[in-house]
Symmetry: C2
Subunit: 215 residues, 2 copies
DNA sequence: GGCCAACTGATTATCGATAATCGAGTATGC
DNA sequence: GCATACTCGATTATCGATAATCAGTTGGCC
C-alpha cells in the first residue's frame, strides 16, 4: 500500500477510519503504531498525530505508553446517545422547517427511496448510510454550525449501531418512519417537524432497550 | 520554564490552554511550534501533538503548512451556541430533577451565593465561573455521559463570552435568574425544570442580540 | 512451592535533523 | 508601470534513531 497526496496525517487517518468502519479493525483491537509505519511506509510522527485526531473523534482510545485500541461502544453509551440526539434533532427540525429548500426536500425524498431499496435487499449497512445522510441533511438545513458540530459528535456511536442491533428489525418499516418527517418539513411547520423528529429518535432509542448487558 | 511530569504532550497542552484563558495568547494570535519548542526546551513532536488535541478541542485552528492560531470566536458562532445549549440543558434539567441529590441542591445553592457575591463585587469573571459550575452540576446530575460530553463541547465558546458581553448587564439580576431553576429542582419536577432551564438560556441568548457585527 | 526483583521483548514517547511548503519581497521582461 | 518568475527566511511536515515505559518471564531466595 502506498500513499501519495500531501499531508500524510490526513491520509493515514482516512485509512484507519475506513478499516474501523468496514470491520478490518474490530472494536477492542489494538492499533499498533509501528505496524502502520511499516505497512504504509511512513514514519511514526504522522501516524501518532493521526491517532491523536482519531482519539478526539472518539474512534479510538489510548493510554500513555499502553497504545491505542478501537473504541468499544458500550450498550450504556449507545442508549445514552438517544435522548441527546432527540433533543438536538428536535431543534434541527424546528429550525429547518420554516425555510426549507425545495432542493433539499427532493434530496430527502431520494434518501428515503434509497433506504427502501436497501431495506428490500436486506442491506442493513446501506440503510444506515442513507438514514444517517437523511438526518444529516436536516441538521445541515437548520443552518446552525454549532448544532451541526454537536450532532456530528454523536454520529460515530450511532453509526456503530449496526453491530448492536445486528438483526430482527423490520427494515422497510424503519425506512417508512421517515415519511412523517418529510411531510412536516413540506408543510414548513417548525413545531410539528421538531415533535416528529423527536418522536422518531425516541422510538429507536426505546427499541434498543432489552438488549444484552453490554457490547 | 521547565516541565517535569511525564507525558510532555499533556503538560504542553495545559500550558497553552492556560495562556489562552488568561489572555497571554489573544484570539487570532499565531501559535508557533518552534517558539514553544525553544521556550519549553522540548522537541517538536509533543508540541505538534498537543496542538492537534487543542484543535480538536476547538481552542485553536490550523491549516497545513500555515500553522495554528488561537480560535477567533465570532459573534455568529456565539449566538448559534445558545439554541443548542438551550436544547441540551432543557434535557439535563428534565433528567436531573426527579432524582436530584440533596447534596447537589446544597451545592447549587452555594454557587448562587457565590454568584451574588461576585456580582456585588462587579467581578464579571467570578460570576461566569460560578455560573458555569452551576450549570455543569445540573448536567452532571442528569447522569448521561454523552450529554455531558456534548455540553462540555460548547463550554469553550460560552466561556469566551466574557470578552463579548464585556459590560452593561445587571450582574445581580443575572445571579438571581438561577433561583427558579433551583426551585424547580427542589420540587423534583422534571418538566418544570426543563422548561425553566430552556427559558433561562434563551433569555441570555436573546440578550446578546443587537451586539456588534462580529468579534 | 511461592514470592519478589531483575531482565527481556514489544511498543510508545521524545528527540534532533532534514525536506517540503508558504508568503513576502525582489528582480526581470515586456 | 505592471505582471510574472524567482529567491529567501520562516515555519510546518516528515523522517530515522534513541529513550522511556509496560507486561510477561525468568531466576534467585526464602
Amino acid at each position: 500500500m502506498t500513499l501519495s497526496r500531501s499531508v500524510l496525517r490526513e491520509q493515514i487517518k482516512e485509512v484507519i477510519i475506513q478499516r474501523i468502519l468496514d470491520g478490518t479493525y474490530a472494536p477492542g483491537d489494538r492499533v499498533v503504531e509501528l505496524a502502520l509505519v511499516q505497512e504504509l511506509g511512513v514514519s511514526q510522527a504522522p501516524v501518532r498525530e493521526a491517532l491523536r485526531d482519531l482519539e478526539a473523534m472518539r474512534f479510538i482510545e489510548s493510554e500513555p505508553y499502553r497504545g491505542a485500541r478501537v473504541r468499544q461502544v458500550t450498550h450504556k453509551e449507545l442508549t445514552e446517545t438517544y435522548p441527546v440526539r432527540a433533543a438536538l434533532e428536535e431543534l434541527a427540525g424546528h429550525m429547518a422547517a420554516p425555510g426549507v429548500d425545495n432542493n433539499v426536500l427532493r434530496m430527502l425524498e431520494s434518501e428515503i427511496q434509497n433506504m427502501l431499496e436497501a431495506a428490500r435487499r436486506k442491506d442493513q449497512h446501506g440503510l444506515l448510510v442513507h438514514d444517517a445522510r437523511f438526518h444529516e441533511l436536516i441538521v445541515e438545513q437548520a443552518g446552525n454550525s454549532v448544532l451541526l458540530d454537536s450532532w456530528s459528535g454523536l454520529r460515530i456511536e450511532a453509526y456503530t449501531l449496526v453491530s448492536v442491533v445486528k438483526s430482527n428489525l423490520d427494515l422497510v418499516a424503519i425506512a417508512n418512519t421517515h415519511l412523517p418527517i418529510l411531510d412536516a418539513l413540506r408543510q414548513r411547520d417548525g413545531d410539528l417537524a421538531g415533535k416528529v423528529m423527536r418522536a422518531h429518535i425516541e422510538h429507536f432509542g426505546n427499541t434498543l432497550f432489552g438488549g444484552d448487558p453490554d457490547a
